[in-house]
Amino acid sequence: MLSVENLTVGYGKAPVLNDVDLNVARGEILAVCGPNGAGKSTLLRALSGQLKPHQRSRIEFNGTSIVGKNPAYIVNQGIALCPEGRQVFPRMTTEDNLRIGAYTRTDRSAVDADIEDYLAQWPVIERRRDSSAGLLSGGEQQILVIGRALMSNPTLLLLDEPSLGLAPVLVDRVYEGLKKITQERELSVLLVEQNVVKAMELADRIAVLSHGTKSFEADVASVTSDEVGSHYFEHVGGE
């Protein structure tokens, strides 16, 4: 479904990502872990069209090249990015935040139904539907931005650190929600996450990004979280 080859991206001259290859199959959940500064968010920003990769990079989605396309085109293809740090639109209401997620859709009544569905699944944010999203708690905002990303009806969801800055009990709830959502929708997910244990509960496969290159990849069933962690700093000190 998503096939990435030689992905090379940099701000200015020094590349942040170097020749990264990745694949996500239909309905599969790939977790990408790694230390701070490894290039995880850069990977997602390149896939969403917010950063232009180097020429030799190839990104194909359902057989079509999406390299160098703008974010609006990529959302229309069925890829939604849920960005790091719960970027709600703080002065818009909870409901309007969900609705703007469906910006590319023209089926208004179906959008209304999807908003009601999502709110019905999450009473915590249903109660706050008319209040400014900036007033929601961190966990509620995370639930909201995941819902907002789903409103475009994506087939591939790019999730950037959904556990970041949340209390452990809220992390559990967010991941329970994600599990349910991905099973119901047969959604493919590329999950970027620092919390390896949580990522492995959800994912089918796991890869490690370290210093801008992929240092490890395996089926989740065949490795432990400690083994994954041991690949974090592979390139440090070595050569």
Binding site: Q50, Q87, Y103
Partner: protein, 293 residues
């Protein structure tokens, strides 16, 4: 007391025009962080084209409708050709300088084609009578200005709140990068914002023309300054703030002319601007944001 109320009525009528000049100007600043200093000159350029159409025999309202469309297109072009290349290279201050330059350019072109003498419009475009309310002369025109300004502010607020493109404007003003991820085509919405600034500003200028029946090339920069000062007084961040700022500016000017001296008008108004910048940089209704250039 009657004299005071009279000034209040007149100042409100003028202030309503300022408000319409300020709505689009303030929105450009709020959403895009650009000081659109070519604003007034694009409007005056379009008005002069409208004036020529009238001289050629076109009815006033048709000519002004075409001028309004032209004002929108001119504003869109100025953004596309002048501001965007600079903003996209993060040269925000240079974009401000270029905005001034674009304004001067338009003014010089107007001077070349139409000269510096004021152009006068015929009487009787709108009825100029007045009501007598307990001894105060309430003119039709000031009240019409107020009604038009309030109606446009309410309509525009509803547009921002309820329509898809309106919500896209709000989203971009809150977080441009995340708005892009929603599939919003940022450049199209920016064009829409500038188009609105031209169209709504032109409605204010048409009111000015119906009130004073004259047009001069110096008006362009005055419009930009009024819009800027009204935006600082009202505060950046909402359409209502533009209305409040415009009307307060109009009333202040009216009072200064009546009770002090019209020679002190600029000194007072710019003094007020400095006071607001120093003590209330967010204006009366603005959100707490750092004023940026």
């Amino acid at each position: 007391m009657d004299y005071f109320l009279q000034q209040l009525v007149n100042g409100t009528g003028v202030g309503a025009q300022y408000a319409l000049w300020c709505v689009g100007y303030g929105m450009v600043y709020q959403v895009l962080g650009q000081l659109h200093f070519a604003h007034g000159d694009t409007l005056v350029f379009a008005a002069f084209v409208g004036f020529t159409l009238i001289v050629l025999g076109m009815p006033f309202w048709i000519a002004m409708t075409l001028a309004t469309v032209l004002a929108g297109l001119l504003a869109i072009s100025v953004e596309r050709v002048v501001y965007r290349p600079l903003i996209s290279r993060n040269l925000v201050f240079m974009a401000f300088v270029a905005a001034m330059a674009a304004g001067f350019m338009l003014r010089a072109i107007v001077q070349f084609f139409w000269g510096v003498q004021p152009r006068n419009f015929d009487e009787g475009i709108l009825p100029t009578g007045s009501w007598d309310v307990f001894g105060v002369r309430v003119g039709y025109l000031p009240m019409l200005n107020l009604v038009v300004a309030v109606a446009i502010v309410i309509a525009f607020e509803q547009f921002l709140r309820r329509s898809k493109h309106g919500q896209a404007i709000v989203a971009i003003s809150e977080d441009r990068s995340t708005a892009e991820l929603m599939g919003i085509q940022i450049n199209r919405i920016i064009a829409l914002i500038y188009g609105f600034s031209g169209v709504i500003g032109m409605i204010g200028l048409i009111l000015y023309i119906t009130n004073f029946r004259t047009l001069t090339i110096g008006l362009g920069f005055a419009i930009t300054l009024k819009a800027f000062i009204a935006a600082i007084i009202g505060g950046i961040g909402s359409i209502r703030a533009a209305l409040l700022g415009g009307i307060l500016l109009g009333i202040t000017e009216s009072m200064v002319s009546a009770y002090m001296s019209s020679i002190l008008l600029d000194a007072t108004v710019f003094g007020l601007l400095i006071v607001f910048l120093l003590l209330m940089p967010n204006g009366l209704m603005g959100q707490k944001t750092q004023l940026k250039l």
